[in-house]
Symmetry: C2
Subunit: 381 residues, 2 copies
Amino acid sequence: MQNFVFANPTKIIFGRDSIPKLGPEAAKAGKKALFVYGGGSVKRNGVYEAVTSALKKNGIEVTEHPGVKPNPALSHVREGMRKASEAGCDMVIAAGGGSVIDEAKAIAAGMKYGGDVWDLFCGKAPVKDALPVFAALTLPATGSEMNAGCVVTNEDTRQKFSAHGAALFPRASALDPETTMTLPREQTAYGAVDSLAHIIEGYFTARNPDAEVTDEIVHGLARSIVASTRRILADPADYNARASMMWSATLALNGLPVCGYGGMTFINHAIEHSLSALYDIAHGAGLAIVMPAWFRHHLETDGPGRLEKFGRAVFGTTKAEACINAFEDLFREAGAPVRLAEAKIPASDIPKIAENAMMLIRMWGMRHEQPEIEKILKLAA
Amino acid sequence: MQNFVFANPTKIIFGRDSIPKLGPEAAKAGKKALFVYGGGSVKRNGVYEAVTSALKKNGIEVTEHPGVKPNPALSHVREGMRKASEAGCDMVIAAGGGSVIDEAKAIAAGMKYGGDVWDLFCGKAPVKDALPVFAALTLPATGSEMNAGCVVTNEDTRQKFSAHGAALFPRASALDPETTMTLPREQTAYGAVDSLAHIIEGYFTARNPDAEVTDEIVHGLARSIVASTRRILADPADYNARASMMWSATLALNGLPVCGYGGMTFINHAIEHSLSALYDIAHGAGLAIVMPAWFRHHLETDGPGRLEKFGRAVFGTTKAEACINAFEDLFREAGAPVRLAEAKIPASDIPKIAENAMMLIRMWGMRHEQPEIEKILKLAA
């Protein structure tokens, strides 16, 4: 095991009727909230009402900032910052999935930074401070509700970049599985793919794979995600499966499943970010395309060891290739695309995608060159 | 899954040379530390030197409070409080195992409480505040380095009681597996038993066992503890096994392995506390005696379901009785006693032990009567 630091101060309030409990938590942080959400789904499932009434009941003034899109846009972040400044907001509340929480974090960090908020994403400046962030999660997938990162897309430059800093941990997040009961099958599937993607990056690119306890946590979360996905596909109203999925997805990117692995890379995410930046496809769909291809590349470069271990523990497979196929079968079963063509991305675009991915790969300090990325993408063709 | 709240703010600094990193963390909290430790082991393994030099280097004045015993004594807590008051300490630093950290927490809470510190343990008053606590862990077992509880024994009344409160989370804990390399075989064994005991209480007494992700985490931690114990018994200098054991033991009682189980009981611990309060045996030894007996009782009252599931996932067994035997085999293999007689506790004492246990059972609000406890103890005879 390599040395590590684990520190995660986010308070998780989990279960039925947990959203109103954000009110008293928020009241400790301030008086005026910017309330960030997406489209109409939070109005249909009662989350909008639960958040606003909890805030009002606790004496918090609300300024609304709706309209967050999947792959949240920098221009919309700037608009949120303008609103927050005008209203004198002292905190940001998000209600939705990872995109909404990420935009809330970007606004929160931007409000405390003197310069252009994009500086925090393109590596020009670190996130040192942010307004307090609170979240009501409605889509288990990105883990943003319990981590210190956020991703925003710059529409002008077609760059999907991330910012990180301890100030971005939400103070408290409410996770009510009831809010996920009506999710479309597609979003359930993409959430499952995304969560799996988060735990495989560390596991398969660890500098030191002799970290048995972390391997066990990765296997356990993966088994839970796989089993919950299948239960949800069979019965979308299975509360305990929804709950297990929601908590698994949160734990998948809260720092725990990488403890002791040492230098890991985030290569699948780096490649996927280019797909969703260039084609505006769902992050989970992009990952379902990239992961099997990357696994096949990994098998060539690193041998079968980790794939065999993971497969045995999670899918009951023995051979590395069977583990990769099991991933692909699960993604197909859930309805996700597993090839570029299935997402209508032409193979002739591969050099362009790889070139875009290289920006992030260089910024994240990963040692990959464009030909290798093109090779991986060809395995997805 | 039942509703839950998970919040654990302790910063874990893990790995080789992690102890000096406590210095800058402590410097954020104050200027004068009460330094709590046990006997000579921290002087022999370099931990004493690492802590004191880190504190001095960061401008922190040190008042020493050595001599903490296993099953830390209330009188020694009071002595530590006197020293801390006289020196005007504004924080408490522990170096050692769970007993040392627990005593440090008791002192930290006592210093902020107006009345008698025992009030916080016998249910007369809640822990509302405490001096900041920091810990350098040298014995993976109790999980105190990343939780908000502590246990102290009142020698006058022969009561081993616990106190809890968010203020008792250590601000930061350093976990250097190197410090555990020279642990006697016995302490390694008792640590393993203790960690396993922490994760089985929730798993086997859960009000709602349909919490798949938490089951997976419990299975994973258990497998990691079992595998690490066997690696350490074979080669005490196996760093990665020591590291995996250390992090597993910390996670075993940090709140994570009970999320969603709802109302659980701590029955094995309640019975064991009486054994170590009455006979001053090691907590891990007492648990190795109580657990197999309690499992046999549980099999009668609750049926084989959970034992079969746990056994399949952790030991590769199928029948419930085989799972219990696998626990017992592991404890024997590690050198722990598994019957009262092996710890020289006469069966004729069973009513007295059960009577003592009932105090804690009532205080913790558990629904067990003395005849049931006597029955469990007879299964350990």
